[in-house]
Each structure stands twice: as C-alpha cells, then as structure tokens.
C-alpha cells in the first residue's frame, strides 16, 4: 500500500493514462465483437484445422489394399497372409496368379503394395534357413508407401518370432522395431504441435497487422497520431485483444487434442504455456512489424498469408522433416519462429521433457521477440516523421 501511494505521487498522471488505455482496448474489442464473421472464423478455425488434419488429411495407414503373389502356397505363407489380413492396416484384395499381374495391379492403382513370396518358401526356410519375401509398394505417395512397408515388415517379423517359439524354426532375420514416444504412429502427435504453431501465428501476426493497416486505410490512424495517444500505447492496445483470442485458441486446441484426438500433454503444462506465451509475443510483434511497412489491409493479408504461412507449412518441420531439406532451406528454416515453437511443443507434449530440454527453443524465441519488438517500435516512430 505504501509503495502504491508513493508510486502515485511519483507518477500523478498514470491513472488517467490508464483510462486512456482502457478506452482504447475497449474500442479494439468493439471492432472484433462487431465483426461476427471474423470472430467466428478466429474461434472455429483451430477446431476445423485440428479435425481436418485429424481425420481428413490422414497419414496413418489403415485398411490399405494389398495383393499377394504366393507361388509356394504352403502353411507358412498362408499364415503370414492371414496375419496381414487380420491386422487393421491391410486388406488383401487379390491373389495374383503370375508376375505379369503384379505390374497390372500397380498400373490400375488398385493396390498399395504387393507381397510376393519366393517359391518353396517353407521348405527353403526349413532347410537353408533362407527364404525371401518381396514387399513391392506403390511409391507415388512416398510417405504412405514407407509406412505400408514398415507395417508389413513389422507383421512378418512378429510372425517369425511367434513361430520360432512354437516350432523352433531357425530364423534368419530378427527385425525389431521400436517406435519411441508415439508407438501407434499416430499422425496427431505430429500435427497438433504444427497446428498450434500455425493457428497462433495466423491470429497474432495476421490479425494484428490487418487491424493496424485498417486504421491507416480508413484514415483513422492520422487522427490517432494527432491525438495525445502514445505510439507504444496504440501498439499494445492493438495487440491485447488478439492476445486474449490466442489464449482461447490455445485452450481449445489443447482440449481437443487431449480429449478428442487422444494426444496427451506428457510434460509440464506450465512450461507449455510459457513457451506458447513467448511464441505469441513473437507473432504479435511480427504483426506489428508487418503493419509498419504496409498501408492497406490487402497487402497486410498477402504478406502475412504468403510470406508467413507458406514457410511455416513448408519449412517448419510440420509437414516435411527439416533434416531432409537442402542446406539452404535448412538455414532459412532456422529463421522461422514456428519451427522452434513446434520443436519445443513436441518436446513437452509428446516426449514429456522439462524446462532444460526446451531452453534453446525458449532462448531463440525470446531473442526473436525482443528483436521484433525493437524493430516495430523503431519503424513506428519513423512513420510518425
């Protein structure tokens, strides 16, 4: 209390400025609440995106159609085929009679993969301990081809282990596949952090830059600049409503991912929030930087849409692994805030790691936030001249 009175004496005009600030923030909320369509989009977009990624754009393999070429047709091969059929990943749609049929199957695009056994499979296995199975996959979609082959390999290996225990059949290959953190290979584990990175950026950067650009376009910015409102106050007041909306979105995303998509928050929720807050700041300031260089809403939309969204989708590691990119793009990806955020979120949510693990991500994002805020304030003052 004592400190408070002392503070008031030192800054007698502060409470009045606070009122000025409050009326500014209230106005910003009016803008948002009045524009029902945009607000609805802002609130529903994360839900739609999650469900879209969760169910429509599915990289998981389920009930892939396969064909089988089985010239030996013995107990062993039939057992493997049954195993395949029984799994939820495959359904055997055709038994091929000869090798020519194989290429026809692929050409018609009916099957994802053909399993071809060598002749006298069982006998070879028993006598020489060496028999071959060929897994031939349609790699026009390389991601799904890879997963199909992986699943098939796992099933065959599993069967070999079983039969070894039952019949003491000597076996050649001991394939052991262990998938860390995400044993069921759920796509959701990958895209939930990605969608978080994308949505928060979209709302903070895009909406802030558009809302400032709108003031310039409508001519109200001029009036604000002539008024006693300080530029810093203007900037903060603009960012506050979107800050709240992103918090709501963050909550929605986490609730949906935990309760509907079944992606748990394995690590500390607190650190996840801290990381997200820093990321939100980065994007708000990014929006402010954009708005200081553009003069109308369309340009703001284009810049935040093309210049921000595309790299996030392509280079953040959300869709394609950064390690596989050419070195040049790997360097560019280092500049993308979303990349750092997504890595951090994965560490906390999926791997359940703590503060020490996300320290580099937090540090980089904080650095970006400071840099961008400095640029936006400097740019904004420059515009006043």
């Amino acid at each position: 209390m004592r400190y408070f009175t002392a503070w008031r004496v030192m800054h007698p005009e502060k409470p009045i400025e606070m009122k000025q600030f409050i009326s500014f923030v209230r106005k910003e909320f009016h803008h948002i609440f009045r524009d029902r369509t945009t607000m609805a989009i802002l609130l529903i977009l994360p839900v739609l995106m999650l469900l879209l990624f969760g169910y429509a754009i599915n990289t998981e393999v389920k009930n892939s159609k396969i064909a089988v070429y089985d010239p030996s047709n013995d107990t062993y091969t039939r057992a493997i085929i049954e195993k395949m059929q029984a799994s939820e990943y495959f359904s055997v749609v055709k038994m091929l009679k000869n090798e020519q049929e194989m290429s026809e199957q692929f050409k018609s695009g009916e099957v994802k993969m053909v399993i071809a056994f060598s002749e006298n499979f069982h006998e070879n296995l028993l006598h020489s301990g060496d028999a071959q199975i060929a897994l031939i996959a349609d790699a026009t979609d390389p991601n799904s081809a890879k997963s199909v082959v992986n699943y098939a390999t796992a099933i065959i290996a599993g069967y070999q282990m079983e039969s070894q225990q039952l019949q003491q059949i000597p076996f050649q290959i001991d394939t052991q596949i262990k998938l860390l953190y995400n044993p069921q290979m759920k796509g959701a584990y990958n895209f939930v952090p990605g969608v978080m990175g994308m949505i928060l950026m979209l709302i903070c950067a895009m909406m802030t830059s558009i809302s400032i650009a709108r003031e310039k376009e409508m001519g109200t910015m001029e009036v604000l600049l002539v008024s006693p409102v300080k530029p810093a106050m203007l900037i903060i007041a603009k960012a506050i409503p979107y800050f709240f909306i992103s918090l709501i979105n963050l909550t929605t995303i986490l609730l949906i991912s935990v309760f509907i998509l079944g992606v748990p928050v394995a690590g500390s929720l607190l650190w996840l929030l801290v990381l997200s807050l820093v990321y939100i700041f980065v994007n708000l300031s990014l929006g402010l930087v954009i708005s200081s260089v553009v003069n109308n809403q369309q340009t703001a939309l284009l810049i935040s849409g093309m210049v921000l969204m595309l790299p996030v989708i392509m280079l953040s590691g959300m869709m394609f692994p950064v390690e596989n990119m050419p070195v040049f793009f790997q360097w560019i990806s280092q500049l993308i805030p979303a990349k750092w955020y997504i890595i951090g979120v994965k560490k906390i949510m999926i791997k359940g790691l703590g503060f020490s693990a996300i320290m580099p991500q937090l540090a980089v994002l904080s650095g970006m936030a400071v840099l961008l805020i400095a640029i936006s304030i400097k740019k904004f003052k420059y515009r006043l001249e």
Partner: protein, 246 residues
C-alpha cells in the same frame, strides 16, 4: 488580441526540396483561418508540423502557447483534428465513437455523459445514438466528426478539407457549426478546395510553391487583386506556380 498560433520562418525540406519555405503568420484566438493552396503547394506539410506530427527543418512555431519542436505532446492535448478522409470508426456506434475519443483525449468521466447528450441533441442524432456510424448519411458523419473533434474543448481545431464530397446544403450547415464553435472561443484552422468556403473565413492565406503568396481578409484580397470572388484571386496567384499539382 491573444495569438494562438505564431509561425516564424517555418521551413520543411525533404532533401533539397523545400516543401514549406520560410512561412510566417499569426492566428488570433476565435478566428477562422483559411489555409488555401493548390495540391502540392505545401499545405499539408505545414499543417502536419503545426499538429506536432512532423519536425520542422528550421524556423519556429508556437501552437496554443507550446513549441512545436519541443512540446508536441502538449500541443496534441490542446488541439482537435478532423481529417480529409472521414475519420470516425464505421463499425462502431455513434456513442462508442464519442466514448472512444473522449477517452483518448482524457475528458473527465463525469463530463462525458452530459456533453454527449448535448452533442446528440444539437445534431438531432438522439435516436441514432446506438446506430453504427456506417449507417449514417455522409453529411451527418462529417458533422459528427467535427463535433467529436471539438468534444474535449480544444483551444484550436485543425480541419483538413472537412467538407470534401458533401452537398452544398450540408456544407452550409457544417459552416454554421464552425461559427458556433468559434463563438465559444475555439480557433479554427481550415484547409479547403472550395473557394466559396474561403469567403466564410475571417482571414485567408494562399500558399504557392511552399511560400505564402497572400494573406488577408477575403474582402481585402478581392480588392487587392481586383477580383469579383475568391476563385479569381486564387487563380491569379496559382497560375504562376512552378510546381505541378500532383
């Protein structure tokens, strides 16, 4: 008479180009001062300096007693401003717009309600209080924008082409509002393209090529240039301009 704007040798240069070249003038309290000039003559640049938005290259000016170079914050508190473009928020209601500007100009809380009431009564907008501004006709919007610009009782109000695109009847009404405002002691600094409006001003300055080419009452100017109306005065001065209008 009290001088509310004093300008001495004010200059603004962008590189070697002098947008405003050593202008000097004074505006008295309660006066309607018309600030005329062709596009590109330097009007807007001069006005931006007087509003504290732009720092002069040389010369000095006092607005409402404050130095534009060192005390722009004080100037901003003591002036009102209405711009060329319509400057209220279209997606806010009439009341919300008033509330917002009252807030940023720090009008005392207990004053806001009675002043708002008075403003709405004078404009006949009592029933439109909660309508969105975009639903009002342009003329009403301009009148509302002016009322909002003087809502915090500034000493001076700067009007940058306030009547652009408005019909003659509404322009007439708008000027009645300006007269009313000056009756309560507000000084009006107005730029316009309409020469009939120049006649309504107490004094008029005409800028040509960054300099003030003429400054007097409309009656004296007409006499000096042997012209029937301000249009002719303006034309005689502006045709000698070397800068092209943009």
């Amino acid at each position: 008479m009290e001088k509310v704007i004093v300008v001495e040798n004010l200059t603004k240069a962008f590189g070697r180009f002098k947008a405003v070249d050593q202008i000097s003038f004074e505006v008295e309290k309660g006066e309607i001062f018309g600030f005329l000039g062709a596009n590109g003559a330097g009007k807007t640049t001069a006005m931006r300096m007087l509003c504290g938005l732009s720092i002069p290259t040389s010369g000095k000016a006092l607005v409402a007693g404050y130095d534009i170079r060192t005390q722009p914050e004080m100037i901003k508190k003591n002036i009102g401003y209405m711009s060329q473009k319509f400057a209220l928020y279209e997606d806010l209601t009439v009341a919300e717009n008033i509330r917002f500007y009252a807030g940023i100009y720090q009008v005392p809380e207990k004053e806001i309600a009675p002043r708002t009431q008075k403003l709405l009564e004078r404009l006949g907008l009592e029933h439109e209080k909660d309508s969105l501004v975009k639903s009002l006709p342009l003329g009403w919007k301009q009148k509302l924008a002016f009322s909002v610009a003087v809502f915090h009782h500034p000493g001076i109000v700067f009007l940058d082409e306030p009547t652009g695109g408005v019909d003659p009847v509404t322009r007439r009404q708008f000027w009645e509002m300006i007269y009313e405002a000056t009756d309560s002691g507000i000084t009006v600094f107005v730029t316009t393209h309409y020469m009939d409006e120049a006649e309504y001003c107490d004094r008029v300055s005409i800028m040509v090529d960054g300099k003030i080419a003429a400054l007097d009452t409309p009656a004296n100017l007409k006499k000096e240039f042997d012209a029937n109306n301000m249009d002719e005065v303006f034309y005689r001065l502006a045709r000698n301009a070397s800068r092209k209008a943009d």
